[in-house]
Assembly symmetry: C2
Homo-oligomer: 195 residues x 2
DNA sequence: CTCCAATCGCAACTGACGTAGCTTTAGCTT
DNA sequence: AAGCTAAAGCTACGTCAGTTGCGATTGGAG
């Protein structure tokens, strides 16, 4: 995964091919249908090689996650904290709704529940996401819309948590309205000074 | 399973033995270490029998979940909504912290992400839990502490969601203080009229 | 250009999961 | 109390994820 002694040429090609195949398989069949053999065949890389370098399905996912972490995401900046927070919540909701990204993201969450390796990777991923998203809260504090004592990351957590809760724990459908409501709730709590 | 044509005697014994073994295995090795063969051996029931009646690991878990649903849980009734809501949140947090129940509960959540069968079972489980927990909110409404327009179940969701989010999505540790804060946030939102 | 070590490909193997066909046990009926 | 039949036990087998050992490539250092 990280800096090997031989970063160029074939190894790099193999790595890219496998990563690409992993994402493709993930988006087509989700976590359940993801197998090392399928990824190997699709990528044209031999099964043994995948096992050696990634170890297992979890390893493949952890690697894909680190890749995903690089990509920044379009944090809204509408000028008001109401709309910004709602925007963040909707971004999460629509992401899982998307037929392309949804299965991949879900697979990440599912994998992290089974493998400590993927769990760490997902933790880091959310660490980064929270940091980016918290920006909208910081701006609100700067504008005087929220008290300076507010825990900016916690506001984000509370704003998105109900969406994930519905999706992955209670297994209830999530609408755009649900996302808005979660954002509004977090904002109300922040204004009340409990976050 | 449902009412078979032969509910008494051996069948019932087998069922209980398997259920017991499932829970034991689950609490020892979690979802990852749960296999039909281990459950079969531990319960003293033959492997093929387990396959016939439960079909797979997911079936075992779905069955165990339906059992767990029966057990009521000690909803607090302190007289104030602040303490009651915190009590519910703490119940969730401490449940996962418990070395006995924690792995089992986690396994349920993990299993539901992989099997539609377990997902449905978990959905029903939370449906019931929400219904029970919402009682504390209803009492608060009756006492006039919250507006009558409040969505009692949503208050519960928002109160517990951050705990699950930390545990299963962001993979961050959860303290009692985190639970309290989540409950407080939900209450603030409810009072502000956004729930 | 040459060599050497890292990496990959290959094929055979291991073991666990799950299935199929049949026999045996035990609950229920009369 | 005897027989009928659902349900459990048992053996053997097929399949497939994952491993191992070895030979073939390939990239980079000198």
């Amino acid at each position: 995964m990280e800096t090997s002694k031989r970063p160029g040429g074939r190894s790099a090609r193999v790595r890219d091919a496998v990563r690409r195949a992993t994402l493709a398989e993930l988006s087509e069949h989700g976590m359940r249908g993801l197998t090392v053999e399928n990824v190997a065949e699709r990528s044209g890389v031999h099964k043994t090689t995948v096992y050696r370098r990634w170890g297992s399905v979890e390893g493949l996912i952890a690697d894909a996650l680190e890749m995903a972490q690089e990509e920044p995401w379009p944090i809204p900046d509408t000028g008001t904290i109401e709309e910004d927070l709602r925007g963040v919540a909707r971004l999460v909701q629509s992401g899982f709704d998307d037929p392309e990204l949804g299965p991949v993201s879900s697979a990440f969450v599912a994998a992290a529940m089974q493998s400590p390796e993927a769990a760490r990777a997902l933790h880091d991923f959310f660490e980064a996401r929270h940091e980016q998203s918290a920006q909208v809260v910081r701006r609100a504090v700067d504008r005087g819309e929220l008290p300076v004592t507010v825990d900016v990351r916690e506001v984000i957590r509370v704003a998105v948590a109900p969406i994930y809760y519905r999706l992955f724990v209670a297994h209830e459908p999530v609408t755009e309205r649900d996302a808005d409501r979660a954002a509004d709730a977090a904002l109300a709590a922040a204004r009340a000074g409990v976050l």
